[in-house]
C-alpha cells in the first residue's frame, strides 16, 4: 500500500509544485517527491516488520529527507499516525481511523493550525472524522469515506484565507487556489483507497 502512495505522490510532483507556486514558493511537489523517494528506498531496502513500523518509517524518511514545512508536517503525520498502530496487525477500518486521528493530532500540535487555516489540516481532519464514522465497517468503506472527506476538505481550502505557511501573507489573494499540502493529503489517501479497492 505504502509503495503505491510513494509512487502516486512522486508522479504528482508537477501538480503539487504548481499549486505551491500559486500560494507559496513552488517547491512543495519537489519536497514531497524527495520525501517519498526516500520512503520508497527505505521500504524496499528493508521490509518493515509491522504496519506501525512501516508507517513510521515513511514518516522518518520524509522528515529527514525533505525539510521545509511539509517535511515536518508529513513526517509528523506518518510518525504519529504510525505509533497509534503499535501492537496492531493488518490495517483495518479501526486502524485507519486511529492512524488518521493520531496523525492529524500530531500535525496540529506541531504546527498549531486548525481547520479553516488553509493547510494540510483541512484535508486531514475531515478524513479522520469520516474514517472514525466508518471504523466499525470494512476498510474499503472507511478509506473511501476518508478519501471523500479529504477531497472535500481540500476543495474547501480554495475559499480560505491562509493563516499559516508562506501563503498567509497573501491575504485575500489566496482565495480561489487550493492549498498544496491539502492536495498532497488527497493524493496520499486516494492512493491508499485505490490500493485497498484493487486488492
Amino acid at each position: 500500500m505504502l509503495l503505491l502512495v510513494c509512487d502516486r505522490v512522486i508522479a504528482a510532483e508537477p501538480e503539487l509544485s504548481e499549486a505551491d507556486r500559486n500560494l507559496g514558493d513552488g517547491d512543495h511537489g519537489l519536497g514531497m517527491q524527495r520525501g517519498m523517494t526516500a520512503a520508497k528506498e527505505k521500504l524496499t531496502s528493508a521490509p518493515q516488520e509491522s504496519v506501525d513500523k512501516a508507517f513510521s518509517a515513511v514518516g522518518m524518511a520524509m522528515m529527514s529527507s525533505m525539510g521545509g514545512a511539509s517535511g515536518a508536517i508529513f513526517g509528523t503525520f506518518f510518525r504519529n499516525g504510525g505509533k497509534a498502530l503499535q501492537g496492531r496487525g493488518e490495517l483495518d477500518a479501526q486502524g485507519l481511523a486511529l492512524f488518521l486521528q493520531a496523525g492529524v493530532d500530531g500535525v496540529k500540535s506541531r504546527g498549531g493550525a486548525a481547520v479553516g487555516d488553509k493547510t494540510t489540516v483541512d484535508a486531514m481532519e475531515p478524513a479522520a472524522v469520516a474514517a472514525a464514522e466508518h471504523s466499525g465497517g470494512s476498510l474499503a468503506d472507511a478509506i473511501t469515506a476518508a478519501s471523500k472527506g479529504a477531497e472535500g476538505g481540500k476543495e474547501a481550502t480554495k475559499a480560505m484565507v491562509a493563516k499559516f505557511g508562506r501563503a498567509k501573507t497573501l491575504g485575500e489573494g489566496a482565495i480561489g487556489f487550493p492549498d498544496a499540502g491539502a492536495i498532497s493529503v488527497t493524493v496520499i489517501i486516494d492512493a491508499m483507497r485505490d490500493f485497498v479497492l484493487d486488492s
Binding site: G26, D27, S64, T169, L170
Partner: protein, 335 residues
C-alpha cells in the same frame, strides 16, 4: 537536464548538496562538513555558548555562508528553499555545542520553526540545552501588532554579525540570547522585487510579476507584501521603503546611530543599489540619523531574482561595540 533558466549546475535535484560541497571548499579549511549537510567552524572557543544558524539553500551566501570568525559557529543547511530537516539540525547542534548550550538563530518561516523545534527536542533528549531566537525583521509582512508573524529577511545579516560577535565574547547562553534578541528587536527591513528568480529543479519562475509593476514589501520567495506598485524611480522608491520602516514601532530619533544595509536580491546590479543609497541619503539625513556603517552588497538572495531591500539596525553602546569587532565569513567580512 531541465534547465530552462540556463543555470550553471549539474543535476537540478542535487544542487543543494553540490553547492554545499563548494561552500565547504570556499572556507579554505577553516570550516568542515558535519553529518549530512552542516558546516561547522574548526577552531571554536572552548567552554562557550554556541551560535547555530541555518535555513534553506538557494539563497546564498546566506545562511551557511555566514559561518565564520565572530559569525555563526555552524549552520544547518536545507534543500533548495526548504528548511533543514531535524536530523541535520541535530548533527549541527552536536558539533557546535561546547557544553554551554546552543542558540538557534534563523528566519521566521513555518518550515524552519517546525524543523528547528524538532531538532531542539532531539538535542534536549541528548542533554544539550537549546534556546531559540527567531528573526522577523520584515515590516511589510505583518502589522506591528502581529510581529510574531513577520518573515525574516535581509536584516539577518547585521543580526548574525552581532550574534556572532556576542558568541565570541560572552560566557553564558543567557547572555547570548539576550544580546541576539536585542539585535533582532533593533532591526527592521523592507524589500521590493522587480523580477522573479527561478527554481533550479523546474526552471520555473519563483513567482509572476508584470513588466510594469514592482512588489513593494514582497518576500524573498515572492510572498505577498504591501502592494504591487507601478515601476518607479529610485528617488520615488526610497521614501516608500523607508516610510514603512519609520512607520513601525522602532523609534528612530535624531542622533541615533544605525547600520544601513542595502541588499540586492540577486540580479539587481550594484549600480542600482548605489543609486538607491544616494536616493535614501536625504531622507535619513532629514531624520537626523547617523550612519555608523553602510553595507551595499548582495547577501540575502533568491536565485537570480531582482529586487532590493533596505535594512536598518539601530545601535546602542553594546551593539555598537559588538558591531565594531571584525568578522570573516564567505558571505560577509568586516575589518
Amino acid at each position: 537536464m531541465s534547465n530552462s533558466a540556463k543555470k550553471i549546475i549539474n543535476d537540478p535535484l542535487t544542487c543543494a548538496d553540490e553547492l554545499f560541497e563548494g561552500l565547504v571548499l570556499a572556507y579554505d579549511g577553516k570550516a568542515r562538513k558535519v553529518g549530512k549537510r552542516s558546516i561547522v567552524m574548526n577552531d571554536l572557543r572552548p567552554d562557550a555558548p554556541a551560535l547555530l544558524i541555518g535555513g534553506g539553500a538557494g539563497h546564498e551566501p546566506i545562511y551557511h555562508g555566514l559561518v565564520g570568525k565572530n559569525m555563526g559557529d555552524g549552520a544547518a543547511v536545507g534543500d533548495i528553499f526548504a528548511a533543514p530537516p531535524p536530523d541535520i539540525v541535530l548533527e549541527a547542534t552536536q558539533a557546535v555545542n561546547r557544553g554551554k548550550g546552543v542558540l538557534y538563530l534563523y528566519g521566521n518561516y513555518a518550515g524552519d520553526v517546525m524543523n528547528f523545534d524538532i531538532g531542539a527536542e532531539l538535542a534536549e533528549e541528548e542533554g544539550i540545552e537549546v534556546r531559540t531566537v527567531i528573526i522577523n525583521d520584515d515590516v511589510a509582512s505583518a502589522p506591528t501588532s502581529e510581529k510574531d508573524k513577520r518573515r525574516g529577511v535581509a536584516g539577518l545579516v547585521p543580526i548574525v554579525k552581532i550574534a556572532g560577535a556576542a558568541a565570541a565574547t560572552v560566557d553564558t547562553l543567557d547572555e547570548l540570547v539576550r544580546i541576539t534578541q536585542k539585535a533582532v528587536d533593533h532591526t527592521r527591513s523592507v524589500g521590493v522585487s522587480t523580477k522573479p528568480g527561478s527554481i533550479p529543479a523546474t526552471g520555473q519562475p519563483t513567482f509572476d510579476l508584470a513588466d510594469d509593476v514592482i512588489g513593494l514589501g514582497m518576500g524573498i520567495h515572492g510572498e505577498k507584501g504591501i502592494a504591487l506598485i507601478p515601476m518607479c524611480t529610485a528617488n520615488e522608491l526610497a521614501p516608500k521603503m523607508l516610510d514603512l520602516i519609520f512607520g513601525d514601532d522602532m523609534e528612530l530619533n535624531a542622533g541615533d546611530e544605525i547600520v544601513l544595509f542595502v541588499n540586492s536580491l540577486g540580479s539587481t546590479h550594484m549600480m542600482e543599489l548605489l543609486i538607491l543609497l544616494k536616493s535614501a541619503k536625504p531622507i535619513l539625513e532629514a531624520r537626523g540619523l547617523k550612519i555608523h556603517h553602510t553595507i551595499v552588497d548582495s547577501i540575502v538572495t533568491c536565485q537570480e531574482m531582482a529586487g532590493v531591500s533596505i535594512s536598518i539596525m539601530k545601535l546602542d553602546d553594546e551593539l555598537k561595540r559588538l558591531w565594531d569587532m571584525p568578522c570573516e565569513s564567505v558571505g560577509y567580512t568586516k575589518l
